[in-house]
């Protein structure tokens, strides 16, 4: 019994079908609960009610980065072990990641306007998210441009590998290029810099909710891709008969 058993599409379909309802229910409960709890938190002494954007902004930003890492791992598994489910999962994750990046950028702009007096600043964090968004767009565009699914999986896999290195490099290159307005990490473990518990616990809940939402969407999209493959195979067989 190993994790590679689920590289078999039939087993993957069975397992993901069993997990999916729980992921959906968990995502709904955590997000609705977390957002309502977050909405009822007291106003910040400095930022007023705008601080509540944090419950959308931080989880979306966290997922935007982690989804790219997940795509990198899935691409590596495809390039090394040739499991089709892995390539399809990377393909299915990309649009979700792009939307998460967009949510982080949009909520950041809405938050930045009252706080910094500007919708957009060429701050290192904002800039590196914009660059990440460009990498997502390029990845999705390459997938949709190539007809043969296996070639597309290979080429996007290589793009993801090279792109990861350069996305990381850009992340630190922009630090060099401009000093920032954005605050540091939101969830520092150093006690003095930590966010107050009033905000932290609902934030944990929405982060869990965003994670489960990603799992649910990823499973749905990957299952759709597998079914699309099966359909294509059936149609090819029909055409031959």
């Amino acid at each position: 019994m190993s994790i590679w058993e689920y590289a078999n599409p039939v087993k993957f379909m069975r397992l993901s079908g069993a997990i999916l309802p729980f992921a959906v229910a968990g995502a709904v409960i955590c997000m609705v609960g977390g957002l309502i709890w977050g909405f009822l938190t007291p106003e910040d002494y400095k930022q007023g009610s705008t601080v509540k954007i944090v419950f959308l902004h931080v989880p979306a930003a966290m997922m935007a980065i982690n989804i790219w890492v997940m795509m990198l791992v899935a691409s590596l598994i495809w390039l090394i072990r040739r499991h089709h489910v892995s390539a399809l999962a990377a393909k299915a994750a990309a649009p979700i990641g792009a939307v998460m990046t967009l949510i982080a950028l949009a909520t950041g702009a809405i938050w930045g306007q009252p706080m910094w007096g500007s919708w957009w600043e060429w701050d290192p964090r904002l800039t590196s998210f914009l660059i990440l968004f460009l990498f997502y767009i390029g990845y999705i565009a390459l997938w949709s441009a190539i007809e043969d699914p296996d070639s597309a999986a290979d080429l996007t896999g290589w793009l993801c590998l090279v792109g990861s290195v350069f996305a990381l490099l850009s992340r630190y290159a922009v630090l060099f290029w401009n000093q920032g307005l954005h605050q540091g990490a939101s969830l520092s473990v150093a006690p003095g810099e930590r966010m107050s518990a009033v905000y932290r616990y609902p934030l944990y809940l929405t982060m869990l909710g965003f994670f489960l939402l990603f799992v649910a969407l990823l499973l749905i999209r990957t299952r759709t891709e597998i079914r699309r493959r099966r359909l294509a195979a059936l149609q090819a067989r029909e055409a031959r008969a």
Partner: protein, 218 residues
């Protein structure tokens, strides 16, 4: 490999090869920018490093489809893939030929374009140094983008979307070298980063580009 290099250089310099078009494009860009932002010397000098580097990226990008597309169409790329030299060597050689025909002329001609954009004379050596160190990375990354999109009929726009984000670190450090060279700041860090990016790109990207070519050739 030398034979391949000479072949690519010959193809580029003969009729229809497009040698020098990159330079002409660069000249047009440096002519257009003052029309857009106004002829004031101070403004132009301020933005000149950025314009020169962005111009270099675009001039490099426009000539990328020449690296593999023609050889892919007439089948000589298949022959090269079965040739005794490894495909990684083919990629590196072709990127070198691309650099000699587009990157090197830009490095040599850059002082003249700097003059057009009122770049202070103290910055000119740093302009040449940063371009000399940075442009090989542009050609090699471009070869990777060209290898990814070689099988596509309308790959040009897609290639720019794939390649330009990869150019961001080189652009940042390249323009920073010129800026600090003009203002007299510490140059060691951006120069080291620029050279590091180029060295790592030259060492590792041929493998990724060759892998992408193999996918497109099967």
């Amino acid at each position: 490999m030398i034979a391949l290099l000479l072949r690519d250089l010959t193809l580029a310099t003969r009729a229809g090869g497009g040698f020098g078009l990159g330079l002409a494009f660069f000249l047009i860009l440096c002519t257009l920018v003052p029309f857009g932002v106004g002829p004031q010397g101070a403004t132009l000098a301020l933005i000149a490093p950025g314009i020169l580097w962005v111009g270099a990226l675009l001039a490099c990008l426009l000539s990328l489809d020449r690296i593999f597309a023609l050889d892919f169409e007439d089948g000589s790329l298949d022959l090269l893939a079965t040739a005794p030299i490894p495909l990684e060597g083919v990629v590196a050689t072709k990127a070198l030929a691309h650099w000699i025909t587009t990157g090197l002329p830009l490095v040599v001609a850059a002082p003249m374009f700097g003059l057009l954009l009122q770049l202070p004379s103290g910055a000119v050596p740093w302009l040449m140094v940063s371009m000399l160190i940075g442009t090989p990375a542009l050609s090699m990354l471009g070869a990777f983008g060209a290898a990814l999109t070689v099988g596509l009929r309308r790959g040009g726009l897609l290639m720019s979307l794939l390649v330009l984000p990869l150019y961001i670190p080189t652009l940042i450090f390249g323009a920073e070298v010129i800026r600090r060279g003009t203002e007299g700041g510490s140059l060691a860090t951006p120069l080291a980063f620029l050279a590091g990016i180029t060295a790592a790109t030259l060492a590792l990207i041929p493998f990724a580009a060759a892998a992408a070519l193999r996918v497109n050739l099967r």
